[in-house]
């Protein structure tokens, strides 16, 4: 049976009642027939209305998510990019500062160590020379030989003190240079929060659209960056020993 035939079957008696009431000018029967027809239409109408309201609500939700995403894309992403660039420059600066200080300190420590070594050699030579010295002349010679040793000690000590002081100051500066970690940590955390928000909005949007979000794939040989425990997929070498074992297994 066609759907119109169904309608005819459903409504014909009501329409008949309506036309009868009109013909007989029976107001009460007329309104009763109209009420009956409206009552019959109500479930469908309300269903349609409910669907319309749902669609409207979804559209509004979608609009709010889309404007949130637009805001993230327009303002927060460039802002996050700038903040991450700042992280790179801060870590770069700290690394260079640390390297500078280490490079400055190495030669100072080496100079002190070399000078101390020379002094030890001098003292040992003096000791060997003055062992078993006898008589006034012998003692006088021994004192003469001791003079250059004392001079060397006099030169060494202030130089060693100055170099050690400089190394100590450099080490303190190395310590201070590590302060970037706190700042970069905070910035990275704020960017992580933004990524979370973005993820939530995108998930919600894909739920509303019924789409599946596909992950963009990286270039074939570009690499993945440092392996992050719990994030990087696939088998990861746990350290250099693991890499060496793997390569020797391949005959390298």
């Amino acid at each position: 049976m066609s759907s119109f035939n169904l309608l005819k079957l459903e409504y014909s008696s009501c329409v008949e009642a309506l036309t009868d009431a009109l013909r007989m000018e029976d107001e009460k029967a007329f309104f009763a027939a109209v009420d009956h027809i409206v009552h019959m239409r109500e479930p469908g109408m309300f269903g349609e209305l409910r669907k319309l309201t749902g669609d409207l609500q979804k559209a509004l939700e979608r609009f709010s998510i889309e404007s949130k995403l637009a805001d993230i894309a327009e303002n927060e992403i460039p802002d996050a990019r700038a903040r991450l660039n700042h992280v790179i420059s801060m870590t770069d600066e700290a690394a260079h500062r640390t390297l500078d200080l280490v490079e400055q300190s190495g030669p100072l420590a080496e100079r002190t160590s070399k000078a101390a070594g020379n002094l030890i050699d001098m003292l040992n030579a003096y000791r060997a020379q003055s062992t078993g010295v006898q008589g006034f002349e012998g003692v006088a010679r021994s004192i003469d030989a001791y003079v250059p040793v004392v001079r060397a000690i006099e030169t060494f000590l202030p130089a060693a003190r100055a170099d050690s002081e400089l190394i100590r100051r450099n080490l303190a500066d190395v310590l201070l240079a590590q302060g970037y970690q706190d700042l970069t940590g905070q910035i990275i955390r704020s960017v992580m929060k933004l990524v979370e928000e973005l993820e939530a909005s995108l998930t919600e949007l894909s739920r509303l659209s019924g789409d599946v979000v596909e992950h963009a794939s990286m270039g074939e040989n570009s690499g993945h960056g440092p392996a992050v425990p719990g994030v990087t997929k696939g088998e990861i070498a746990s350290g250099q020993t693991d890499v060496d074992a793997l390569l020797s297994g391949l005959g390298m």
Binding site: H96, L99, G223, G225, T232, G234, A237, L250
Partner: protein, 127 residues
């Protein structure tokens, strides 16, 4: 060892290049040139007379694996010793690099000892 050996260090981070250069200087190699990715390194390699290449993998522009493949495909450079110094630690990547003809693979963070050990191994005793 031959102190005159010419090294090319390729990494997009200046600090890493500086650290590697520092370690090489410590080991007595003072002839070290730097490049920040494969595409700047390749012309230097083609036109220069480098004895050793140390490269990162993940770099903007031309990644290290592509550089390695380009080096092996070039008749002049095919035999150049290449050490990969990278944070890429996936086992299939290490295998891929080995298949592409890498001579050594060191993962970051690395120590001066590891770098020295791999250099000695690649260059052989007495070089």
């Amino acid at each position: 060892m031959n102190a005159e050996m010419k090294f090319l260090v390729v990494d997009d981070f200046a600090t890493i290049r500086r650290i590697v250069k520092g370690v090489l200087n410590e080991l007595g190699y003072s002839n070290v040139t730097e490049a920040d990715d494969g595409s700047t390194a390749l012309p230097l390699l083609r036109d220069g007379d480098f004895d050793f290449l140390i490269t990162d993998w993940n770099m903007p522009g031309m990644p290290g694996l592509d550089l390695l493949k380009a080096v092996r495909a070039n008749a002049k450079l095919a035999k150049l010793p290449v050490l990969m110094l990278t944070a890429e630690a996936k086992r299939d990547q290490i295998v891929e690099a080995a298949q592409a003809g890498v001579n050594g693979y060191v993962i970051k963070p690395f120590t001066a000892e590891t770098l020295k050990e791999k250099l000695d191994k690649i260059l052989g005793p007495g070089k």
